[in-house]
Symmetry: C2
Subunit: 249 residues, 2 copies
């Protein structure tokens, strides 16, 4: 349906049970550095699949999907600046493009909800709040910067179960990187996220912070490669792999 | 002590509690394919650290170790053939060499023993038995081949705990890839391992098979790069990272 242009909205809540993925496409000359950046920063950049140069068909995440047509919306960056947002990238495709598909926190959110732990931004029908922290990433070649995190507030009695459950999903960001005081990781105003939307934090609730797949996008924007294609925020690649298959092995 | 030439023997049992690593050094032209091979085969090739071109000093696994001098013994392969075994590689170093350090099952063996689960080859003072299976690896560029596994026999009541404990260590091969019948994964004679030494399997015991760090070495030998340097079997890099730090996050 997405391939035929019949769905151009965000993919949150679609195909329950199946993993969704972040997309980053870069010319081959940047690919080793970016692959190394992901290897060195597995919590924000858990690689689910990397395709051969010029290849647009996935193998692990689905058989035969075409990443040039099978996401609802793409962002095209040139020299680090967002140039346009388009529904397909066949016309822009280059034989030296390398595709990276990166795990998404939708997978562990489903596990939380299944365990009876509500997720605030889903309850409130919002995009997850994201914050740029002062936690440095491990640089690799031209790619560096600081960690971007998502935040989910929990009542105190749900903090430990939330850590336990999300820690089972290393390949989709795993357990939190920080619990509690936002200032300790360089977040000045919890009410004003850098991306996404603010959510309600009720009296007595504790904010939990997880590494976020926007981290590599920020790293790419800072590195200013000639061209880079990503999914538009929230408009992910939907795979044929079950979230449960991504639990730790 | 190793740097000064004071220890030229295998490293099993040295520096208890600290992780040891497999070494693979390749010229940069092969590095993207090899990094991709590791990404696609995380169970046999769990990358702990990858160094920049020409760089011999580790950052994550220790501060300031020199991988050219800090392993007891190295194997030099040229076009897939073992050419010599040497105590240091400073004289052979090239500015385009990229170093890969890969997790080692010593880390999860320690966790098994701490949990009261004996490991047979350690009890018998032998090298772990390793077998070439018919399970295909996911190829990447010139690198491919089949999975190499280690085998540890367990009495039936220890099979589940052994799975549970080793599954906590994704970055050092994680849980087993197979339990039981060796023929099901292409092993013809459990008494004749392809590498290492045979161990006693007692009446009623079940063989458990884990992905092995020799898999990438076999892939490299088959790919026949101009040059490749690895640790000599059993003569690993000893890190400053605790095994417990490598448990799933």
């Amino acid at each position: 349906m997405i391939r035929k242009g019949g769905w151009k909205k965000p993919t949150a809540g679609l195909a329950p049970g199946y993993a969704q993925a972040n997309l980053v496409v870069l010319p081959q000359r940047y690919a080793f550095d970016f692959l190394l950046f992901c290897q060195r920063n597995p919590k924000p950049c858990p690689l689910l699949e990397v395709l051969e140069p010029g290849r647009a068909a996935t193998t692990f995440l689905s058989s035969g999907a075409d990443i040039r047509t099978d996401l609802p919306l793409y962002n095209i960056y040139r020299k680090g600046k967002l140039e346009e947002t388009v529904p397909g990238i066949k016309g822009l495709w280059q034989e030296d493009f390398i595709t990276f598909l990166i795990g998404c926190s939708y997978s562990f959110e489903e596990a939380l909800i299944r365990a009876g732990i509500p997720v605030r931004h889903i309850e409130e029908g919002k995009n997850v709040p994201m914050y740029i922290t002062d936690i440095p990433c491990n640089a690799a070649g031209i790619f560096g910067g600081t960690l971007v995190v998502t935040m989910r507030p929990m009542p105190p009695e749900r903090v430990v179960p939330a850590v336990r459950i999300t820690s089972r999903y290393t390949s989709v960001h795993g357990g939190p990187v920080h619990i509690g005081n936002p200032a300790a990781i360089g977040i000045k105003n919890i009410g004003r996220p850098d991306f996404g939307e603010a959510v309600t934090i009720k009296q007595g609730e504790v904010p939990l912070f997880w590494a976020c797949g926007v981290t590599p996008q920020v790293a790419v924007m800072k590195a200013k490669p000639d061209v880079c294609i990503t999914h538009a925020p929230g408009h992910m690649f939907i795979s044929d792999v079950l979230n449960e298959e991504l639990a730790n092995q």
